[in-house]
Amino acid sequence: MLKKMKYRVMVFMSRRMIACDEASFLISYRYDNKLGLYRWMGLKMHLLTCHLCRKYVRQIKELNLAVDRYREGCAHPDCQHHLDREAGLKIQQVVGRELNAK
């Protein structure tokens, strides 16, 4: 009986509140835009009742931090990407030919 009531309450709420797809969109959207009052309240209400989307908020924040570290790592002189030696030689030849042709 209690289980059935809980299910009905969940169905009732899910029809009146924004769902996880819209909530997760707004979580991403608010990094680049200001949320209007209606959307902000919709998101807050959803987060009160959805533990998965609360985790999503935290994880997206962590993802952004990880990408920041990645970007800094890529800009570092020790970044491990190097032009392959053979490719470098080939490019040198092509550039040399173009230079001589001028």
């Binding site: 169905v11 997760s24 959207y29 990880a66 032009l83």
Partner: protein, 196 residues
């Protein structure tokens, strides 16, 4: 070189001086070794053809990077040009059948096992920079190309939204939905890799 002095071009030294730098810049943004090598070569050749336009106000490296940036954006644009129908879909639909339920009564809720599992994306303790670089690079490379280019321009290049929309020829609505989808996929990928 002192301030105010004009810079000169020395194309005979470009590959040796800037080959690695340009390659590094390109591969982070296109995630494909062969494509990145081609872009470096095209940049040098375009630089040679346009060298009469070099005014000496910036360094050689800055000038070459500006050429490379345009080449990378051209690559992204080509990807978008072939994805017109899917762009229309992005404009309309924030949902993604891979992540959310499509049927009532819980339409739009996380699919079983597709929502976040762990409390934190980061494992406990300090993550090695090398490991982090590997995971992020691998996850970006798994993004569909059009999502990857929007994500890279926003998150790696930190370009403004107006600039991205203009460069890629997309609307702001496209961009927000694409960034949302890219974050969805990145989050899942990073979580799976760190939990493994």
């Amino acid at each position: 070189m002192t301030e105010g002095e004009e810079h000169i071009l020395e194309p005979q030294h470009w590959v040796e001086r800037y080959g690695d730098y340009l390659f590094n810049y390109a591969i982070v943004r296109v995630n494909d070794q062969e494509k990145a090598e081609d872009l470096v070569q095209e940049t040098f050749l375009a630089g040679l053809r346009a060298r009469d336009n070099f005014q000496g106000k910036s360094t050689e490296r800055t000038w070459l990077i500006s050429i490379l940036k345009r080449k990378i954006i051209d690559t992204y644009r080509k990807q978008y040009a072939s994805k017109e129908s899917s762009l229309r879909e992005y404009e309309q639909d924030i949902s993604d059948g891979d992540f959310y339920r499509a049927e009532d009564p819980f339409r739009g809720h996380w699919l079983e096992g597709k929502g976040p599992h762990s409390h934190s994306l980061m494992p406990e303790g300090e993550i090695e920079q090398e490991e982090l670089m590997r995971i992020i690079r691998e996850c970006i490379s798994r993004l569909p190309p059009n999502l990857a280019s929007a994500f890279i321009m926003k998150m790696i290049d930190e370009s403004g939204s107006d600039e991205i929309c203009k460069d890629l020829g997309i609307t702001p609505s496209n961009l927000w939905v694409m960034l949302h989808r890219a974050r969805l996929k990145m989050r899942e990928c990073v979580e799976v890799k760190w939990l493994r």
